[in-house]
Amino acid sequence: MTYLNQPDYVRYVCNCGSLKPISKIYFCRHCLMIRCGYCVCQKVDSHYCPNCMENLPSSEVRLKKNKCSNCFDCPCCFQTLSTRAGLAATMKATEGEENKDVKATPKKVYYLFCSLCRWSSRDAGIPDQSVATGGWPEQENPHTTRINALIDYHKILASIEKQQCERKKFHPKRPFMPTTMYSFTSTLLRKRIGRPLKPPMQSQSTAQPVSSIATEEIEELSEDIFTEPIDITKITTLEQRLQHPEVQAEKINELRPQHRQFLVKRSQRCRVCEHNVSKSDLCPQSIKFKILLAAFESPSLLPSTVRQVPVTEDPKPIKIIPNADLILPHSALILPPRDDAAEYDDTSDNHNFQDDPKLVVWRKGNKAVIRLHVIPNDTNENNEEPVIVGFVMQHGYVNTIAALEHKSPQKVDVKVKLYLNVGQLVDKA
C-alpha cells in the first residue's frame, strides 16, 4: 500500500506517452502492450450507493435520477445522515380522561440526524416519520408542468422541422432559377432565415404553450436590508445552495436533506483490441477484480465481426529528460515465476541460478536486487535536480491467450521503456 502514495521513483512509459508507476498501468494480453488509465476506454459498469451498498440496474438508476432512495446527505455539511429513533412527544392532552386508563403505548418516531454538524430534521421543521425507511417529504420543482409544456412544444417544432427536411428531398432543386433574382421575395427570405415557408397551420399553433409574459414589476430591494442586522450563521453558503439547484434556499432552516448520489464501478478496455484490461466484481461490497479473465469466460461472445475503427489520440510528448547514463549488464537475469506460497517459505531457496555476483546482490522468491552503475552527466553535488536514468527493459512473456485458442503458448519478448529516479547526488565517489 505504501508504494501507492510515495513519489514515483520508477516510471514506465505507456504507449500513449504518459509516465506512470507500475501500480497504475495495465498490460493488454492481446496487444502485448502497456496501457494506462489515460489510454483505455472506460465504461460505467454498475451503480451502487456508497452508504447502504445497494446495487441497482442502470435503468432503475436512471429513473431514480442516480440517487439512493434510502440514504440522505446532510444539507449543511454533506455527510451521510443517520436515522434516529425517538419517542413521540406527549400524548395529546385534549384526548379526555377516559383514555387515561388505557395503556398508552409510546409511539416510536424517526428523525434524521447528522452526527458531524448536529443538523437534525426536527430543527429544520420536517415532521417525524413513523417508519424508519423513508416517506420523507420530497421537494417538488414548482415549474415542472410549465417545463413539460415547453418540452412538448419543442418536440412539435422538431417534428415540423423533420417533415420539412423530408419534403425538401422530394423537391429537386431548380438550377435554372437564379437565386439572386428571387432573393427579395418573402418566400425566399423566409427560407433564408430558416422560418417555415407557410405560416403554421391552426392545429399546430394550438400546441404552443402560453408564452411567458414580461412585466415591469420587479421585486424591489426590501427596505429592511438597510436597517435589520443579519445573522450570518443563519444564511446558507453557496455550496449548500448549489446542493439543491432547484430551490437554492437562503436560510439554513429551509435546507432539506438530499438523496445520496450513487457511485459507479468502472471497467477498462483496451482501445485497440477492445478487450477488457480491468473489470471489477459486480457486487459493491467486493473489492476484488475479475481482471481480463472475465472477457474469456464466454469466448463465443468475442467480437469477431466488423470492429469500429479505433479512435486513438496522438501520443503525448514525453517531457522528462534523463540526465545520466547507465551501464547495462551484459547478461540476462532469470527470475523464477511468481509463487504466493514462496513468500512465506524461508527455506526453499532452491533455485540455483548461476548469478554474476557483481550484478545480483540478493535474491529471494521472485525478487532480486541488482546493482547497476549510473554515471550522472552533471557531477556537481550541489545540484538540486534528481538524477534520472532512462533505459529499455526487455523481458520474456508467455502468451497464454494463444493456449485458449488451441495454439501452443508463444513466448514473446516485450520491451518496456523505463525512467528511474535515483535521487540526488550526495557525495563524490
Binding site: C41, Q42, K43, V44, H47, V61, R62, L63, K65, E138, N141, H143, R146, I147, N148, A149, L150, I151, H154, L157, A158, E161, C165, K168, K173, T179, K191, R192, I193, G194, R195, S211, S212, A214, T215, E216, I218, E220, L221, I225, F226, T227, E228, P229, I230, I232, T233, I235, T236, T237, L238, L242, P245, E246, Q248, L263, V264, V311, E313, D314
Partner: protein, 376 residues
C-alpha cells in the same frame, strides 16, 4: 407526494447529456429534466502539480487539453455517471467564446472520450427555449464577463452583441480592494470573498447609490461579523458598495445598463420596443438581491440622459422570469432543446474524425451563401 411512476416521461434509450461549462461553475444534467443534476466548480486537480486548478487558468492549449480530460473524466464518472463512449452531448456555449476552447473541448470529447455526437447550442439562443417566445434580449452576467445578444424571431442579432468584463470576478476584486483599504493584514482567498459576497452583499438602490460617498450619505446597513479562525468585520459600507463597480461607467462610458441600451440602438427601429419589453437576465450574478430592480431604475434614468434621449424613445422596460433560477436558466434551455431529436444539427464523431474541425459561425467555410447550405 409524487409516486414513482408519475411525472416520468418516456425516457429514450440514450438521453442527451447537457453541459453548461461556465468559467466559474459547471451545470450538468440530462435533457428533458427540470433542473440540472448538479452545479459544481469548474476546477480539477491537476495531474502534474496535484493542485486544484481552475480551467480558465490554463496556460496554453495543451494544458487546457489535459485539464479538460481530467475535468470531463470527473464529470462523466463521478457526477453524471454515464459511459461517455457514443454518448450524445449537448454543449452550451456563448457565440462570443474563444474558438480555441471550443476546438479543444471537441477534440477531448471525440478523441479521448469517443462521444457519439455533440450539439453546440448558443447559450443566448437556448435561453429563449425556457420562455416559449422567440424574441428576447438576453443578458448573461456570469463570472468573467457580461454578454448580451438580442434574439429576434428566433434569430440571434449578432450585429448588436455586447460584452464587458463585468461579472462575479470583478466584484470579488472590488471586495478585496475594500478589505485591503481597511487593513493590510487581511489576505482573503477568492472563495472567502465569494462567500462574503453571496451571504452578505447586495445591490443597493440607485437613489442611495448616488448619495454614497457624498456628504449626506445614507446611514450604512448594519455591520456583519464573519466567523472563522480570523474574524473579519464586514462593514455595512462594504456590503452596500461591493456591486457598485458593475454600474459605474468605465473610461468608455460603458456599464451593464448601457450595454442593453447600446444593443437596442444597434437594432433596427421596429425591433427596439419589442426587445426592450422582453428582457431576460441569466447568470449567477443576476441573482443578487436588488440586481434586477437596480438595472431597471438605471435603464429608466439612462433613457432620460442626453446620451440616449434623442436616439431612443423607449419609456418602459419589461423583464421575463424563466421557470428556473437564473444561474441555470441557460442549462434549462439546453435541456428543453435537447429533447428534440434533431440529428442533422449535431456534429457526429464520423464527421469530426473525417474533417477534424468544428463548424463555426465566424468561419467563412460554414457561411457560404449558396443554396446548398440550407439543404443539409
Amino acid at each position: 407526494m409524487l409516486r414513482g411512476y408519475e411525472g416520468v416521461r418516456y425516457i429514450s434509450d440514450k438521453q442527451m447529456i447537457v453541459f453548461d461549462i461556465g468559467s466559474a461553475y459547471t451545470k450538468f444534467g440530462y435533457a428533458g429534466e427540470a433542473s440540472p443534476r448538479g452545479i459544481i466548480r469548474t476546477e480539477v486537480r491537476c495531474p502534474e502539480s496535484k493542485k486544484i486548478r481552475r480551467i480558465i487558468d490554463h496556460t496554453d492549449v495543451e494544458d487546457l487539453y489535459q485539464l479538460l480530460v481530467e475535468f470531463l473524466h470527473l464529470l462523466f464518472f463521478k457526477y453524471v455517471v454515464v459511459s461517455p463512449k457514443d454518448a450524445r452531448i449537448l454543449l452550451l456555449e456563448s457565440p462570443l467564446a474563444v474558438t480555441s476552447f471550443r476546438d479543444t473541448i471537441a477534440k477531448v470529447m471525440f478523441k479521448h472520450f469517443e462521444v457519439g455526437s455533440i450539439l453546440f447550442l448558443p447559450s443566448h439562443l437556448a435561453t429563449i427555449s425556457t420562455l416559449g417566445i422567440d424574441t428576447a434580449l438576453v443578458l448573461d452576467v456570469g463570472y468573467q464577463e457580461a454578454t448580451l445578444i438580442p434574439i429576434f424571431e428566433g434569430i440571434p442579432v449578432l450585429k448588436a452583441w455586447q460584452a464587458l468584463p463585468l461579472g462575479g470576478q470583478i466584484v470579488h476584486e472590488n471586495l478585496r480592494r475594500y478589505f485591503n483599504d481597511m487593513s493590510n493584514d487581511i489576505d482573503l482567498s477568492e472563495k472567502v470573498l465569494e462567500d462574503i459576497k453571496v451571504r452578505t452583499c447586495f445591490v443597493t438602490t440607485l437613489e442611495r447609490s448616488t448619495k454614497l460617498g457624498t456628504k449626506d450619505a445614507p446611514t450604512p446597513p448594519p455591520d456583519v461579523m464573519y466567523p472563522g479562525v480570523q474574524r473579519i468585520l464586514i462593514t455595512g459600507e462594504i456590503r452596500e458598495k461591493a456591486f457598485e463597480i458593475l454600474w459605474e461607467r468605465d473610461n468608455d462610458n460603458l456599464s451593464l445598463s448601457t450595454m442593453i441600451l447600446d444593443a437596442i440602438v444597434k437594432c433596427p427601429l421596429d425591433m427596439r420596443r419589442v426587445l426592450a419589453e422582453n428582457i431576460i437576465l441569466v447568470g449567477g450574478t443576476t441573482m443578487t438581491k436588488g440586481f434586477a430592480s437596480r438595472l431597471k431604475s438605471e435603464l429608466l434614468a439612462l433613457v432620460q440622459n442626453d446620451l440616449y434621449k434623442n436616439k431612443l424613445k423607449i419609456q418602459s422596460f419589461k423583464f421575463h422570469t424563466a421557470p428556473s433560477k437564473p444561474n441555470y436558466t441557460v442549462w434549462l434551455g439546453g435541456a428543453i432543446f435537447g429533447t428534440t431529436d434533431l440529428p442533422l444539427r449535431c456534429l457526429t464523431k464520423e464527421i469530426y474524425l473525417k474533417t477534424n474541425r468544428v463548424p463555426d459561425w465566424s468561419s467563412l467555410i460554414d457561411n457560404q451563401k449558396d443554396e446548398t447550405s440550407y439543404e443539409v
